[in-house]
Amino acid sequence: MSIAFVVLALLTLAGAMAAVTLRNLVHCALALAVAFAGLALLFLQLDAQFVGFTQILVYVGAVAILVVFAILLTRGADDGKAGTVFSRTWLAGLGIAAAVFALLGWAVLRSVRGLAQAAGTPAVTVENIGQALMSRYVLPLEIVALLLTAALVGAVIVAMYEKEGAR
């Protein structure tokens, strides 16, 4: 295992860990951004340059901002000032998570031995992606457009404060 991988994996995991455990919600969001960035770097390490940068652009640049705004909108920064930040069923949750991890880890270690080594660096350019997008994946693309529009409309409707009298 390369050092870079270890470092990045640790960064990602630490960010993720912080994101779900910290007390202050804004700190959580910032830690989340760190985790996203770490993931993006992992993508880069996997030669998925475009996806990696997209990850940064969308997650660090947009989703993190969205989360932060949501936190400020719900005044969540004071969350858990008194008492625990964890729910009543935290033990059960932790147990489930541990079980899932055990299962996944077992599966991983069992199954992927054969694919341990990657093929040579694939020559994936943005142009390839574009061409693929506009040929094989054109239907998913349109569906994504629909989905995004629907998400926009839905999220706006859900989040919008209906002013009295206004339409």
Binding site: R75, I129, V138, V144, T149
Partner: protein, 123 residues
């Protein structure tokens, strides 16, 4: 210079971080040696036009910020799909372009809807 781009970026990251940290360290050193920091209750109080700050700044904000963030997010994602298309554009046929047009128009419809709905009216 046919080096690994990520290595260069990593070096840049480290040096840029160092660029930020060095003067801060120097400033810290200066304070430690010559000009002692004297934090005090009033000095470190929150500035508010010379008065004592009342209430917390961390208050709940209004949702218009969030609405803009949603639209931004959607269009950010759109741009991500637009870029590969743009790169491949010169080699694509008219059909692909039309499908991209549909993609863009779908999103524009969302924008137009939001516009009509008054989401794009700030405050």
């Amino acid at each position: 210079m046919t080096s690994n781009p990520y290595f260069s970026l990593a070096v840049l990251f480290v040096i840029a971080l160092g660029f930020g940290l060095t003067p801060l360290g120097l400033a810290w050193l200066w304070r430690a040696v010559y000009s002692p920091s004297k934090p005090n209750a009033i000095k470190n109080a929150i500035y508010e036009c010379g008065l004592e700050s009342k209430g917390d700044a961390w208050v709940q904000f209004r949702s218009s910020y969030y609405l803009y963030a949603i639209i931004f997010l959607i269009f950010d994602v759109e741009a991500v799909f637009l870029l590969p298309f743009a790169v491949a554009f010169m080699g694509l046929g008219i059909a692909a372009c039309v499908s991209m047009l549909v993609f863009v128009l779908l999103l524009l419809e969302g924008l137009a809807w939001a516009w009509a709905k008054g989401v794009l009216t700030w405050a």
